[in-house]
Amino acid sequence: MKRAEQVLGVVLLLFAIYIGRESSLIESGAEFGMGPGFMPLWLAVGLGITSAALLVRAVVIPARLFDPAFFADRAGGVRVISLLASYLLAILLMKPLGMPLSLAILTAATMPVFGSRNWKAIALTAILTLFGVYLVFGRWLGVPLPMGVLEEILPIY
């Protein structure tokens, strides 16, 4: 984790420099006091100072005081990455397939990550998610959900 914290410090420092540069392009003064660029610029300076301090701290503190690795175990890391991949898939599918269907797929993809191996239960939960989201949010609460391919079959209005 020592290396990871050093990387975090560098990334945040670079982010602060980038934001500071972007903010410096905006007017920071106004007739009375401050303009629109004032706050972001000084906040970027604050972020830069604290991230530099974090970086120095991560360099100075001995490695034994940090957790040995970023992921406690390999399986845990695989689960997190699988979940992130599922999120990405859901986002990509949300417009073409619609929100209820993509969330049903996301549910089906997520359940095994949390240990479910019962495929019947997974399929049933995914189907319930599809209709649950449609009925509760789409029909009952009137949220204009993107329905994608299901627009004709399950109309919102």
Binding site: P40, M99, F114, V143
Partner: protein, 500 residues
């Protein structure tokens, strides 16, 4: 007398069937949320908030207050039965509550926790009423400079008291304030930090950040850990305390109530610190401190009273000044603004039915929670057995649709997943999430107050040190910033002296 009349009016609002229903839903949801490890009141409120869209603000706030109070009650169940705190403020309860369960006294531990929580919760609402009315009168004289200083103090205090590294908390605060500046500038209309995304012209909605950090971010963290819950195999009986239990518990409950309320009022402190302080106090006051950690009922009664009492305390700055002191109340503040209400002293004048309706509902909520937590514990234990493989996808689905429903924007859903990664990384790097949410909510208000102050003074910064209240608050904020630095220098000196 005035407060009593207003409270009566509040009760007339709170006892309408709709508000009673929302109060009941909030307390049930809060107890479940509090009991489930990994989901705290912040996550619960942000995930369930979209369900209140279209509901009137009073009912929505009654439900949120119910969740907040309920979560404090619910956290006890897991602490006692599985030695895992349902949420952070129940950590201390695990020490003696679990030991009591192992000795076959789970019922007594849960009973005294519920009764102590009821007493503390109710007294804290009385204290809230007593403190709020005079504080509102003072706050009405505040101008933009005082508000700027007050918010700055709130932000620095929550960073200073966040626990862990103060450096990390300040870093997170800067990050949150930067997020809050994204979008079109309210004064000049100039776009800032939008990275050419037109969707960011309206800024980042606080709910996206809150749900990302506390909701889906927590799901990612849970996926890595895969917590397995093991219950104490005991039947829960004799929930009502014995005479001896009462004798041992009444003072811890009383002390916990006052500690909790005072700590709750302080920005950044909240239920967790209140319960820690209460536990330490009880151990110090006890004639037999060696019993603590081995099933002492005082170790359950005090901290549980303190964390419930802190909810009433936390509502003081939120309702009277419009300044939240914790992540949970920051989400409540953001929600109120979404409903078109401006929290602060004027709320008491412009919307007394709202404020007093919410306060009255907190009394009712505490009664509901007492009944539920005495009578329905086995039911909540059953709910705890819902597997993560079902619960986690449910959280993802609710969070995703809920965030989409705010602005009907798929961009917000994408941003939600980005903030969930941020939330996960923050957990990994031990960066506190509460200052981030608080600064996202307070950021625009801080900037507005600063710019209004400078307009008032024609651009002169003198305005911040020529007004005594402003100066006092700013000095306090600087003291909080310097405190960790002084501590660090003193520690270095001590280490140096010891070394030489």
């Amino acid at each position: 007398m005035e407060a009593l009349q207003q409270l009566m009016m509040g009760f007339s609002v709170a006892v309408t069937p709709v508000n009673l229903l929302y109060c009941l839903l909030g307390t049930i949801a809060g107890t479940i949320i509090g009991a489930l490890p990994g989901i705290g009141p912040s996550a619960g409120i942000s995930i369930l908030l979209p369900l209140t869209f279209g509901v009137n603000p009073t009912s929505a706030m009654i439900m949120m207050a119910g969740i907040y109070c309920g979560a404090m009650y619910g956290g006890t169940i897991t602490s006692v039965l599985i030695n895992v705190p349902g949420e952070a403020s129940s950590v201390m309860t695990t020490l003696d509550g679990y030991q009591m369960a192992l000795q076959g006294r789970a019922g007594a531990a849960l009973g005294i926790a519920a009764i102590g929580s009821f007493i503390a919760g109710t007294v804290s609402v009385v204290l809230l009423m007593l403190v709020a009315v005079p504080l509102v009168k003072v706050a009405l004289s505040f101008g933009p400079p005082e508000y700027f200083a007050l918010m700055l103090m709130g932000l620095t205090t929550i960073s200073g008291l966040a626990g862990g590294s103060a450096l990390k908390a300040f870093l997170v605060t800067f990050l949150g304030l930067l997020v809050s500046t994204s979008g079109m500038d309210a004064f000049s209309g100039h776009p800032r930090l939008t990275f050419d995304f037109t969707e960011l012209l309206d800024g980042v909605n606080f709910l996206v950040v809150a749900v990302g950090l506390f909701g889906i971010g927590e799901v990612l963290y849970t996926a890595e850990k895969t917590l397995k819950l093991e219950f104490v195999t005991t039947t829960i009986k004799n929930v009502w305390p014995t005479r001896e239990d009462w004798r041992l518990s009444w003072m811890p409950i009383t002390r916990g109530t006052f500690i909790g309320f005072i700590v709750g009022v302080l920005p950044g402190a909240g239920g967790t610190i209140a319960s820690f302080l209460s536990y330490a106090t009880e151990k110090k006051f006890s004639r037999h401190p060696e019993r603590f950690g081995k099933g002492a009922i005082e170790g359950v009664a005090g901290p549980e009273s303190a964390n419930n009492s802190s909810t009433g305390g936390a509502m003081v700055p939120l309702l009277t000044l419009g300044i939240p002191g914790s992540g949970t109340t920051a989400i409540m503040l953001g929600a109120l603004m979404m409903f078109g209400l401006q929290p602060g002293p004027l709320l008491f004048q412009k919307n007394p039915d709202f404020v007093w309706g919410v306060i009255a509902s907190m009394y009712i909520g505490n009664v509901m929670l007492l009944i539920m937590n005495i009578g329905c514990i086995p039911l909540f234990v059953k709910i705890l057995k819902i597997p993560n493989s079902l619960l986690m996808p449910l959280i993802i689905v609710f969070s995703t649709v809920g965030v989409y429903a705010v602005d009907n924007s798929l961009f917000d859903v994408g941003l939600l997943y980005v903030f969930s990664i941020v939330g996960y990384l923050m957990r990994k790097f031990d960066l506190p999430p509460a200052p981030l949410v608080l600064s996202v909510v307070l950021g625009p208000m801080v900037e507005r107050a600063l710019r209004q102050s400078l307009t008032m003074s024609l651009g002169s910064y003198d305005i911040f040190y020529t007004r005594p209240i402003t100066l006092g608050l700013l000095l306090m904020a600087f003291a909080v910033i310097l405190w960790p630095l002084i501590g660090w220098i003193r520690q270095r000196r001590r280490t140096g002296t010891a070394g030489s």
